[in-house]
Structures are given as structure tokens and as C-alpha cells.
């Protein structure tokens, strides 16, 4: 027990203070661990292949895309599978995290009515489990690259920085979407329906260069272009992302986090009536 007494003030209509909230999340670090642990074990405990499903599910999907699209884009890029998978892993993380985060809050609603935990912890745990899954997917990807003879280059050291940015970006988006989905249940369905469309609007299966020059600026309005690029660069192109790309990606990620955090924080006092 700490010597200083923790005092918490809940004032009507006002969210917890920044410092209180951050300390609260820190105080629940053990819960974060347990939530991630539960996420990863419960989902696979009763299945035959167990934990392997974490990797097999995206892998099977990847296989379909690779077979279909490598035929179309074969001429453009050598090692299409690496080209596609490196971006798809980042995309899949974003798509899974945002949809899972909304489901997690709905799922843990009864819990939030009975114990006092920082509500953002469920979103955070979804992001962390997602990053664990990304780690596993990368192992699979590197194995594939070794098998097909795609070069594993030194630029891979940069990957953790890229993934951190992708994580921050997705966390922000997930916070905003969960907050809104607590008030309006249909948002979950809308996001789920919109995700495939968003994927085709992001250069994942095709290179940006096949988009006519005139429309390229339009595609580039999609923040995911940069999020995907900073992951693809070190894996496929073997380079550290260009400073400009990196700067844009950083600004986008931090902007997403700030906006998501604000939306979540200010709607949190009204969550309980809607859970």
C-alpha cells in the first residue's frame, strides 16, 4: 500500500483530470496484461490448432489475395507476395483493431457497470493483442520471404518504429469509433461494411503508380496510404521511409491519438447510461 492516500473526485459533467486518468491506466497495468492474455488464450483454447489460428487465419486470406492479384500485377513488381503481405499486415491490424475494439466495449459493458476500471483499457488491450498478432504474422511473412528468396534487409530494424506509429494511429481511431458506437449501435455495422471499401482505396493490392496521375492526390487524402507505406518500405523496398513520408505519418498518428482521446474522454461520463 502506498503511503499517500489516493483521492479521486468525480464531478458531474467533468471527465477525470488528465493526470488522474493516466495514473489510473498505469495502476491497471496488471489488468491490461490479463485482458491481453484472455484475448489471446480464450479465443483459441477450445480449438484444435489452438494458438496457430492467430497466424493461419490471415495467412489463408493472404493466400487468396496473392493468388488472385499476383496474376494481375505480375509484371509490375517482383515478389508480389512480399509486396502485398507487408502492407496487408499493417492494414489488417488497423481493420481488426478498430472493429475488435468496438466489440470489446460492447462485450465488456456488463463488467464496466460493476467494477471501476478506466474504460479506455479495453481499447488499449485490443491494440496490444493486435500488435502481438502482428508480431506472429511477421514471423510468418519472414519465413515466406526466406522460402521464396525475397531479400531480408537491414532496414528491418526500422520496423518497430513503423509499428509503433501504426499502433498509435489505430488506437486513436479505435478510441473515437468505440466512443461513438456506445451511443449508436449501428456505427459498428457501418464500420464493418466500410472497411473492405477502404481497403481498396488504399494501395495494398495495387501500387500507387497505377492510379492515374490526376487522381493520385485524391487517394493520398486517405491517411492509411502513409500508414501502410511506412511498414512496406522497410520490409519490401528495403529502405527507411523518406523523411517527408515519416513526418506525415507521425503527424497523422499523433493527430489520430489526440482526436480519439478527446472524443473518448469527453463522452466517457455518459457511457454508463448506454452500456
Amino acid at each position: 500500500m502506498s503511503t499517500s492516500v489516493i483521492e479521486r473526485r468525480y464531478v458531474a459533467g467533468r471527465p477525470l483530470r488528465w493526470r488522474e486518468e493516466l495514473r489510473d491506466i498505469w495502476h491497471h497495468a496488471a489488468l491490461l496484461y490479463e485482458l491481453v492474455h484472455r484475448d489471446l488464450t480464450v479465443r483459441y483454447k477450445r480449438s484444435l490448432l489452438g494458438f496457430l489460428w492467430t497466424m493461419l487465419h490471415p495467412l489463408l486470406l493472404m493466400l487468396i489475395f496473392v493468388v488472385v492479384f499476383s496474376a494481375i500485377f505480375r509484371g509490375n513488381s517482383p515478389h508480389y507476395e512480399t509486396y502485398f503481405l507487408s502492407a496487408y499486415i499493417a492494414w489488417n491490424f488497423f481493420a481488426q483493431t478498430t472493429t475488435n475494439a468496438m466489440a470489446a466495449v460492447a462485450w465488456n459493458g456488463p463488467l464496466m457497470k460493476r467494477v471501476r476500471v478506466p474504460p479506455s483499457i479495453f481499447t488499449l488491450s485490443t491494440v496490444v493483442s493486435g500488435l502481438v498478432n502482428v508480431g506472429l504474422s511477421l514471423i510468418v511473412l519472414f519465413t515466406i520471404m526466406l522460402v521464396v528468396g525475397a531479400p531480408l534487409r537491414a532496414s528491418l530494424w526500422f520496423l518497430p518504429v513503423s509499428l509503433l506509429l501504426v499502433g498509435i494511429f489505430s488506437f486513436g481511431a479505435a478510441l473515437a469509433l468505440t466512443a461513438i458506437s456506445i451511443f449508436f449501435g449501428d456505427v459498428r455495422e457501418m464500420v464493418q461494411a466500410g472497411m473492405p471499401a477502404l481497403m481498396y482505396l488504399t494501395p495494398i493490392i495495387y501500387p500507387l503508380s497505377i492510379v492515374p496521375e490526376r487522381y493520385r492526390w485524391l487517394i493520398k487524402l486517405n491517411p492509411l496510404v502513409y500508414i501502410v507505406e511506412i511498414v512496406r518500405d522497410p520490409i519490401y523496398y528495403g529502405i527507411v521511409p523518406a523523411p517527408r513520408t515519416l513526418l506525415v505519418a507521425t503527424v497523422i498518428s499523433l493527430g489520430s491519438l489526440a482526436a480519439g482521446w478527446m472524443i473518448f474522454r469527453h463522452s466517457a461520463p455518459r457511457f454508463h447510461a448506454h452500456l
Binding site: 495502476h27 485482458l35 460493476r114
Partner: protein
């Protein structure tokens, strides 16, 4: 030192909740506006001192559980201010946050974490919890294989193993068989003796009389009486039986 303070706390809800975008738009266009407020708590002020054992009584729907939840910081007040000092462990419903696929042992750690305990501190308590729950042979089996009674025993053991300075109990005295119930009561009494603050919501008046020094009678979201447990419970009894015979 007051561990819990409520200053003019109200909790209110819309009588009907809007759940979809369509409804929001339809309501906005039709000019029906929003439904009226329902007050679960109305301008409640009270202070609970460190080391007190307080019982909260009142009819169903009086706002007892809401009061406990505001005091725990689970529900934010719609008006007023709620203050808590020190660690507060709410035990709202036994079995909350238990996961059917995890084993009894894994659930101990998960539940401890929900109450803000680290893995290390739970590890040092796990044996005692398992011992108290009396389900040692099954502790590594998934929770879905447990009976309701076994889950309740485990849940109570976890909830009361946490050394929070304040423990809030909602209607949990009514679970389990007679033997387990008396075990629970003994445990709560030990908390009180050890100087923890205990707030209990219950319909069972006898255990409250022996456990608590103070009682708060709540009805229709307001505090009707607050004072020595024996007096308040006696008045509540008389009023209830009067209402019955009327």
C-alpha cells in the same frame, strides 16, 4: 478521514434511451424531443468515515445499488460531487468478470486485476483464496465446469482477499448455502475488526444488525434516515410491516 463523500449527488437517466442513428433523426424531425428524466438518486449528501461499517437498506428500486456504484466511482454523478479516498474494492455481483473458458486459477488473477491488484500480489494470495473457496480439486479446470455455488464461493474468496481499505458489497450475503453464508459473514466481521471500511447493501436485516454500527435507509432516491444501525433498522422494520398490513 472520510473515505467516501457525496455532496448533493444526483444520478438521472432518460426514461427511454435512444440506441440508433435512425431513432435520433426520427425523434429530432418529429419534434418529440427527449424523454423525461428519471432520478435514481436525488440530491444525496453523506460521508462515510474510515473504519465504519455501514448498512444500506430500503425497498427494491430505492437507489441502493446506484448509491454504492456512485460511491465506488463506477457511475459518475449527473449532479454534485463524489469523492473517494484510498483503495476501494466494489463487489457488485459475485461472478462479475469471470470467464468460462479460463480455469479457476486464471480467473483468480483476472479478477484480482479487475480490482487493481498486481500479479505478484495475487500470487501471494492465491493459496489462501483457493483454501477459503474450498474447491481446490477443481481449481485448474475451466470455470464452465463449475456449479453456480462453486463460482460464488470462488468469487467471494477473491473479492474479499483483496486488502482494499474500503470494501463495498452489493447483495452478496444471500448467496450460497447456510454454512457458506455464515463463513462470509464471519469474514466481513473480520474486515470490520481489522479497521477496514465496509459498506453493505442487503435485504437481509439480521446480519446487518450484527455487522454494522450505522445504517442508511434509502427510498425513492433519497436518504430517509441515517443513524445508529439498531434504530434505523428498527424504524425500517416497523414501517415495512405497517405498509404490509395497510
Amino acid at each position: 478521514m472520510n473515505v467516501i463523500e457525496l455532496h448533493g449527488v444526483s444520478v438521472r437517466y432518460r426514461e427511454t434511451r435512444i440506441r440508433s442513428l435512425k431513432e435520433t433523426v426520427v425523434r429530432g424531425l418529429s419534434g418529440h424531443g427527449r424523454s423525461p428524466w428519471f432520478y435514481a438518486l436525488h440530491d444525496v449528501s453523506l460521508a462515510i468515515h474510515h473504519g465504519e461499517a455501514v448498512g444500506i437498506i430500503g425497498p427494491n428500486g430505492a437507489g441502493k445499488s446506484t448509491l454504492l456504484r456512485v460511491a465506488a466511482g463506477i457511475i459518475p454523478p449527473s449532479a454534485g460531487v463524489a469523492v473517494t479516498r484510498g483503495t476501494v474494492a466494489p463487489v457488485m455481483e459475485l461472478g462479475t468478470g469471470f470467464e468460462a473458458e479460463l480455469s479457476g486459477r486464471e480467473n483468480i488473477f483476472f479478477n484480482g486485476a479487475l480490482l487493481g491488484c498486481s500479479r505478484a500480489s495475487m500470487r501471494s494470495r492465491a493459496d489462501e483464496i483457493i483454501d477459503f473457496s474450498g474447491i481446490e480439486p477443481f481449481i485448474d479446470a475451466p470455470l464452465r465446469t463449475y456449479s453456480t455455488g462453486m463460482v460464488a464461493r470462488l468469487a467471494f474468496a477473491v473479492a474479499t482477499a483483496i486488502d482494499a481499505e474500503t470494501i463495498l458489497l452489493d447483495e452478496i450475503l444471500a448467496v450460497g448455502d447456510a454454512a457458506f453464508r455464515s463463513q462470509c459473514n464471519a469474514r466481513i466481521a473480520r474486515f470490520v475488526r481489522n479497521g477496514a471500511t465496509v459498506v453493505v447493501v442487503s435485504h437481509e436485516l439480521e446480519p446487518l444488525e450484527s455487522l454494522c454500527s450505522r445504517a442508511i435507509w434509502v427510498a425513492e432516491g433519497r436518504v430517509v434516515a441515517d443513524g445508529a444501525a439498531i434504530d434505523v433498522i428498527e424504524r425500517y422494520r416497523r414501517q415495512s410491516s405497517a405498509a404490509l398490513s395497510a
